[in-house]
C-alpha cells in the first residue's frame, strides 16, 4: 500500500485534453441524418385548467413533422420513487414548467415558430405556493388521486425530549428558512433520440446524469422492455444532481416523437426553458428547539423540517430522509424528536441537488449551535468540541460510530489552524470601529456515504484487457465532470500496474454496462471504485496464473510500470506481452466486478438503526467582511477540511472542495429565483446570479485521510460534503461581524442591511 503508483496521486484528468481542445462532444453537438428538432410548449400559469388545445395552425406550419399532446403518449407518468410526474400535462397544469404540447420540425426556427402557433385555452386557478399552507388539513389538493398534500413524513424518536428539556438550563427555539436553488449547470439539457437503431427501439444520447433512471422512465413511457431502450451518455457540462427527472422527461418526449416520425429527434433547452422547467433544491422551513446545561452539554433537540416538494414527488422522499439523519448535526444528543415532511405545492418541483437534503438542515443546525454558544458564553468551537461525535459515539439514530475513524476533532483542528481561527475570533469579537466589519464563523458536519437506507446500493463494472495490453473499462456510473473516469482508471491502473494512457473509460451505455445505481450521493468513487477494483483483481489473478505456467515463475508476481515482476524485482514480461500471450493461448482477460454495499438498517417508525455504513467528516470556516453601510458581504477566506478516507486523486479532491465552497457562497449570498406565487422571474444568468471569479474567496482545501476499511484504498466521499457547510459558516461569520443573526437565506444586500428581503413582486 505504501508504494502506490497511480492512486493517491494527482494524475492529470484522462479527459482533460479532449475537453480543453473542444474535441469532446456534448449533447447539443450531435447530428444525425434526417434529424428533427423538438420543442415544448409550456403552461402560461402555475396552476390552470387546460380547457382546449388547438394544434392545427402549428401542424400546418411549413417544416413541422409532428405535434403531440398528452393523449398521444403511451404512458404519461414516470418517477424514480413515486410515478406521478407527467411527460405532458393533460387536464391541468400544476406548475409553471409543465409542458402541454410537443412538436418536432425540420429546423429549430420552424419548431420555434410553430410553437408560437399552438393555441391553449386556460382557466387560471389559484394555486398553493407555500408548503405551510398545503400541509393544512383543509388545503386544496395539488395531486389528483391523493387524500392529502403530504408526500412523506419521516419521524425520528430517541430518548424522551420532555425529560431532556427538563434537564436543560437553557432552551433556544429558532426558525430558519432556505430558498430554491437552481443547479446552474453550464450546459442546458440536451437529448437526441434515434429510433430503431442498433437492435433497439430507441437510442437516447445526451446530457444524462443517471442513465438507468432515464432508461426506466423512457421504457415505462413507451411501454417497452428495458433491453429495447439504450441510453448513451455524452460529455456533461455539469449536472450537480440536476439532470435526472427533467432529462428523463425530455428523453421520453423525444422518444415518442422519434417513434412517431421514425426520424431522430433532438431537443435542447434554452437557458430560460431550463430554469423554468427543471427541478430545484428544496426550500425548507425549519423549527429547532435545543436544550443544554450551563456547562454546554446538549440534553435534547426537537426539530420540525418542512420541505416544499413542488408539483411532483420526484425525489422528495429520499431528499428529506437525508435531512433526518443529519438534522441534529454531528452531536451527541440523548433525546431527539425529529419530524421531517415534504408537501406538494403548485411550485417548481424539487429534487436532487448536490447536498441532497443536508444543506438546509446544516444551515439551521450549525447556525443554532453558534447562537447557543453565544448564549452560554462559550466559544463556538468549544461548544462543538463538548458535544461532537467521537470514536464510539451514538448518533441520533443510535448508530454506534466504531467501524471507521471519527475525525471531527482532526478536521476542526486543521481548519482552525489553517485560517488562524483562535486569533481572528478573538480579534473580531472585540468592538470594531470601521464600517467594514470582519467576522469568522465555522460549521462542522458528518455525512453518510452513498445511498444509505434510501435504496439498494450496488454497482458493477467491467475490466476488459485487450490483446495489446490496453484496457477498456465499463461501469454504469457516469462521468458528470467530477473526474470519475480518471479516478476509476487510477484504481484499475494501480491494481494492474498499468499507466493511465493505456486505459479507456467508456461512456455509460445502459446496454453494455451493468446497472449500477445512480451517480449520486457522493457514492461513485466508493461504489464504482470497489466494483472495478474487484474486476481488476479477477483479471490480475487470471494473468498471474497464466504467467506462472507460461513463463515458469514462482512466488509472488508484482504488477507495476506496465510490466510483471517477480518478488525479487526481476522483470518477467511487459504487461502487453502477457496480455497478448494469454489471449493467443485462449485465456479470457475480462471480468465483471460486482459490489454490494455493507449492511444497513432503518426503522421507519422511529428513525433508529444503521442508516449508513460509514460517514465522512468536514469542517469549514469562513472569514468575511461585511459593509454595514451597504449590506455587501465579501467572503475573504475559507478553510475547508474534509476527511475523504483516502484521496484517490488529491487534485480532484481539491477541485471538489473549491467547487463546493464556491457553490455554497452563491447559495448563501446571492442566488435567487425571483420566485413569486408560482412564477420564476429570474430565468437567465443576468438575474439568477452565481459567484464570479471575483467573488471566490481564498480557499484552503485541506485533505484529511483516515482510510475506511470498506473503501477502495480506503476512499470514501467528497462531492457533496463540500457544499453543506458554507451557508452556516458564512452566516455565523456575518453574525460575529455585525452582532446581528440571520435565520433566512440568501444573505443578500437587503437582508444584511435592513434585516429582511425585498422583492419586486411584493
Amino acid at each position: 500500500m505504501n508504494d502506490l503508483k497511480q492512486v493517491n496521486k494527482s494524475k492529470k484528468r484522462v479527459d482533460a485534453k479532449a475537453k480543453v481542445t473542444g474535441k469532446a462532444k456534448f449533447g447539443a453537438d450531435l447530428k444525425f441524418a434526417n434529424m428533427l428538432y423538438g420543442k415544448v410548449v409550456r403552461t402560461k400559469y402555475p396552476y390552470a385548467k387546460i380547457k382546449n388545445v388547438d394544434i392545427s395552425k402549428a401542424e400546418a406550419y411549413p417544416g413541422v413533422e409532428v405535434v403531440m399532446t398528452a393523449k398521444d403518449i403511451p404512458n404519461n407518468t414516470f418517477g424514480v420513487i413515486i410515478q406521478n410526474q407527467r411527460v405532458l400535462a393533460e387536464d391541468e397544469a400544476i406548475y409553471i414548467g409543465d409542458g402541454i404540447v410537443m412538436l418536432a420540425a425540420e429546423s429549430k426556427e420552424a419548431a420555434e415558430e410553430a410553437a408560437k402557433l399552438v393555441e391553449i385555452e386556460y382557466e387560471e386557478l389559484k394555486g398553493i405556493h407555500d408548503p405551510l399552507e398545503s400541509r393544512k388539513p383543509d388545503a386544496q389538493l395539488v395531486m389528483e388521486g391523493t387524500d392529502s398534500n403530504q408526500v412523506v413524513h419521516h419521524p425520528l424518536r430517541k430518548g424522551d425530549v420532555e425529560t431532556g428539556f427538563a434537564e436543560a438550563d437553557l432552551i433556544l427555539e429558532r426558525e430558519y428558512s432556505t430558498h430554491y436553488i437552481e443547479h446552474a449547470y453550464l450546459e442546458p439539457e440536451a437529448v437526441t433520440v434515434v429510433p430503431n437503431e442498433r437492435q433497439t427501439l430507441v437510442s437516447v444520447y445526451g446530457s444524462v446524469q443517471n442513465p438507468y433512471a432515464t432508461r426506466d422512465a423512457v421504457a415505462r413511457v413507451l411501454e417497452a422492455d428495458l433491453s429495447q431502450v439504450r441510453i448513451i451518455q455524452d460529455n456533461m457540462g455539469g449536472s450537480f444532481g440536476g439532470k435526472d427527472e427533467n432529462i428523463s422527461s425530455m428523453a421520453a418526449r423525444a422518444a415518442v416523437m422519434a417513434l412517431e416520425t421514425d426520424r431522430p429527434v433532438q431537443m435542447v433547452n434554452s437557458r430560460e426553458e431550463s430554469i423554468i422547467e427543471s427541478y430545484k433544491r428544496h426550500p425548507y422551513n425549519l423549527k429547532y428547539k435545543v436544550g443544554a446545561t450551563k456547562e454546554g452539554k446538549l440534553t435534547a433537540m426537537e426539530i420540525e423540517a418542512v420541505a416544499d416538494s413542488g408539483a411532483y414527488a420526484c425525489q422528495t422522499p429520499f431528499v428529506t430522509w437525508r435531512s433526518v439523519v443529519q438534522a441534529t448535526g454531528p452531536y451527541e444528543v440523548p433525546n431527539v424528536k425529529t419530524d421531517t415532511y415534504g408537501f406538494y405545492t403548485n411550485n417548481p418541483y424539487t429534487g436532487a441537488m448536490r447536498g441532497y437534503g443536508s444543506p438546509p438542515t446544516c444551515f439551521a443546525q450549525e447556525s443554532l449551535m453558534d447562537e447557543l454558544a453565544e448564549e452560554l458564553g462559550m466559544k463556538p468551537d468549544q461548544l462543538r468540541e463538548k458535544n461532537m461525535y467521537r470514536q464510539g459515539s451514538h448518533t441520533a439514530s443510535n448508530q454506534k460510530l466504531d467501524n471507521h475513524t471519527v475525525s471531527l476533532q482532526e478536521v476542526l483542528d486543521k481548519a482552525k489552524e489553517s485560517i488562524n481561527y483562535d486569533k481572528k475570533y478573538e480579534e473580531y469579537s472585540k468592538e470594531q470601529t470601521g464600517e467594514k466589519k470582519r467576522g469568522i464563523g465555522l460549521a462542522i458536519s458528518y455525512r453518510g456515504v452513498s445511498l444509505g437506507a434510501e435504496a439498494i446500493d450496488t454497482t458493477g463494472g467491467i475490466v476488459a484487457v485487450q490483446k495489446d495490453g490496453s484496457i477498456i473499462l465499463y461501469c454504469g456510473l457516469a462521468e458528470n465532470g467530477q473526474g470519475l473516469r480518471t479516478v476509476f482508471s487510477q484504481v484499475v491502473g494501480e491494481e494492474l500496474g498499468v499507466n493511465l494512457d493505456r486505459i479507456t473509460y467508456m461512456e455509460a451505455d445502459t446496454s453494455v454496462a451493468p446497472e449500477s445505481g445512480s451517480t449520486v450521493a457522493s457514492r461513485s468513487t466508493f461504489m464504482g471504485g470497489n466494483a472495478l477494483k474487484k474486476a481488476a483483481k479477477n483479471v490480475k489473478e487470471t494473468m498471474i496464473e497464466f504467467a506462472k505456467e507460461e513463463y515458469g515463475v514462482e512466488g509472488e508476481i508484482i504488477f507495476k510500470d506496465n510490466a510483471l515482476y517477480t518478488d525479487s524485482g526481476k522483470k518477467i514480461e511487459d504487461f502487453s506481452k502477457v496480455a497478448s500471450d494469454a489471449f493467443h493461448s485462449g485465456v479470457f482477460l475480462s471480468s465483471y466486478g460486482w459490489y454490494k454495499a455493507p449492511k444497513i438498517s432503518w426503522d421507519e417508525e422511529t428513525g433508529q438503526g444503521r442508516p449508513y455504513f460509514t460517514y465522512v467528516y468536514g469542517c469549514q470556516i469562513a472569514e468575511v467582511e461585511v459593509d454595514t453601510g451597504t449590506g455587501q458581504v465579501k467572503v475573504l477566506n475559507m478553510a475547508a477540511a474534509h476527511d475523504v478516507g483516502k484521496a484517490i486523486n488529491p487534485a480532484n479532491v481539491r477541485g471538489q472542495i473549491y467547487g463546493g465552497v464556491v457553490m455554497a457562497v452563491g447559495h448563501a449570498l446571492m442566488e435567487d429565483l425571483g420566485f413569486s406565487d408560482g412564477f420564476i422571474n429570474h430565468t437567465n444568468f443576468d438575474e439568477y446570479l452565481i459567484p464570479t471569479a471575483k467573488d471566490i474567496p481564498d480557499i484552503d482545501a485541506i485533505i484529511v485521510e483516515n482510510p475506511d476499511p470498506a473503501g477502495p484504498y480506503g476512499a470514501k466521499s467528497i462531492g457533496e460534503p463540500t457544499v453543506e457547510l458554507g451557508g452556516a459558516a458564512i452566516n455565523n461569520a456575518i453574525a460575529l461581524a455585525t452582532g446581528e443573526r440571520h435565520y433566512d437565506l440568501p444573505l443578500n444586500l437587503e437582508r444584511v442591511l435592513i434585516g429582511r428581503d425585498l422583492s419586486r413582486e411584493g
Binding site: 464600517e435 451597504t630 449590506g631 443576468d686 471575483k694 467573488d695 437587503e750 442591511l753
Partner: protein
C-alpha cells in the same frame, strides 16, 4: 423571428454613416453588448428598420482628444480605453472608476461609452459621471451638428433625445478646474457582472476649504440619473469641514423619495444611498484635508 431582408451596413467615416442614415432607417450597432441582448429578448427589436449600421469601424470616433478648453471622448471609445487612459484618470477619476466597474473584462473590451449613454438605462454606470462633469453630447446628421447636455440627453429610461437620422459622435467634457475632486461608488450584488443597485458620482470644486461647486448624481436611484439639486444647494458655498456627512446622507435619501415615491426597493435604497452620500462627503473631507 428576425427579418431576413434586413441589410447590414458598415461605415468607416462619420460622413458616410450619416449619409446612410439619411437615406435609410437603420438601427445603430456599437459594441453590441446591449444590442445583442435586446435582439434576443425583444421580438420587435428591429421592426420597422431597413437594416443595421455598424459603427465599429469608424476610427475617428474611437479617440480621446485633449483641447485647450475641454476633452473630447469619441462615442466608440470602449470602457477599457477609458480605464486605460491616463488623461481620463487624471482629469475625470470618477469616469474612469465607473467604466472600470462595468460588467467584466470582455464586456469592457467591447462595450462603448456611446452605447452606454444611448441605451440609457437607469443603471448605466458612466451616465452619472458624465452628468457630474457637465458633459455635452455631440450629435451629427447629414444636416449638421448639434450638442446637448448629457443631463438633457437622456429623457427617460431607454429614451434619449437623439433623432433617427443622428449619430452620437462624442462627449465634450470641460477640463477640471483648480481644486476639482471626483469619485464614483457602486453597489452591486456581486463583485463583477453586477447591475448597479445604486451608485453615486460626485464632482466638487473646493477653494480654500469652501465648496465652490458640487454635482451629486446617483445612479439607479431615480428613473433617470439626475443631479440632486436640493442637497447640492444645501452644501454649496459652505465650509467643507463643517458639513455633517450623516445629515447629508439622510437628506439625499429624502430627496430620492421625493422623486420616486416609496417603491418596493425603497427600504433598501434609502439607507444605502444615505451611506453613499455620507461616504462621498467624508472621503472628500479627508482628501481635501490630506491635500493641505
Amino acid at each position: 423571428m428576425m427579418n431576413k431582408d434586413l441589410k447590414f451596413y458598415k461605415a468607416t467615416k462619420v460622413d458616410e454613416a450619416v449619409k446612410l442614415l439619411a437615406d435609410n432607417k437603420l438601427k445603430l450597432l456599437a459594441g453590441g453588448t446591449d444590442f445583442m441582448v435586446d435582439l434576443r429578448n425583444e421580438e420587435d427589436f428591429l421592426n420597422g428598420y431597413d437594416g443595421i449600421l455598424d459603427l465599429s469601424h469608424i476610427d475617428e470616433i474611437k479617440k480621446i482628444i485633449e483641447n485647450d478648453e475641454h476633452v473630447e471622448i469619441g462615442a466608440m471609445v470602449t470602457h477599457r480605453d477609458i480605464v486605460d487612459s491616463d488623461l481620463i484618470k487624471e482629469y475625470y477619476p470618477a469616469l474612469a472608476q465607473s467604466a472600470g466597474a462595468i460588467g467584466s473584462t470582455p464586456i469592457r473590451n467591447r462595450a462603448t461609452i456611446g452605447g452606454n449613454i444611448c441605451n440609457a438605462a437607469a443603471c448605466a454606470d458612466t451616465l452619472g459621471p458624465l452628468i457630474a462633469f457637465e458633459g455635452r453630447a455631440v450629435l451629427k446628421s447629414a444636416n449638421g451638428t448639434r450638442t446637448m447636455d448629457v443631463s438633457e440627453f437622456v429623457k427617460w429610461p431607454y429614451e434619449t433625445g437623439i433623432n433617427e437620422d443622428e449619430i452620437l459622435v462624442s462627449f465634450i467634457l470641460p477640463k477640471p478646474e483648480e481644486g476639482a475632486y471626483s469619485s464614483f461608488q457602486k453597489i452591486g450584488r456581486r463583485q463583477a457582472l453586477a447591475i448597479t443597485r445604486i451608485s453615486l458620482a460626485v464632482k466638487a470644486v473646493i477653494e480654500s476649504g469652501v465648496i465652490k461647486e458640487i454635482n451629486l448624481v446617483p445612479g439607479s436611484a431615480t428613473p433617470v440619473p439626475t443631479t440632486f439639486s436640493k442637497v447640492e444647494a444645501e452644501i454649496k458655498g459652505k465650509q467643507l469641514s463643517e458639513i455633517d456627512p450623516k445629515e447629508i446622507g439622510e437628506k439625499a435619501a429624502e430627496e430620492m423619495i421625493g422623486i420616486t415615491g416609496e417603491r418596493w426597493s425603497t427600504p433598501y435604497k434609502k439607507p444605502a444611498l444615505a451611506t453613499l452620500f455620507r461616504r462621498a462627503i467624508k472621503n472628500l473631507q479627508e482628501e481635501v484635508a490630506n491635500n493641505g
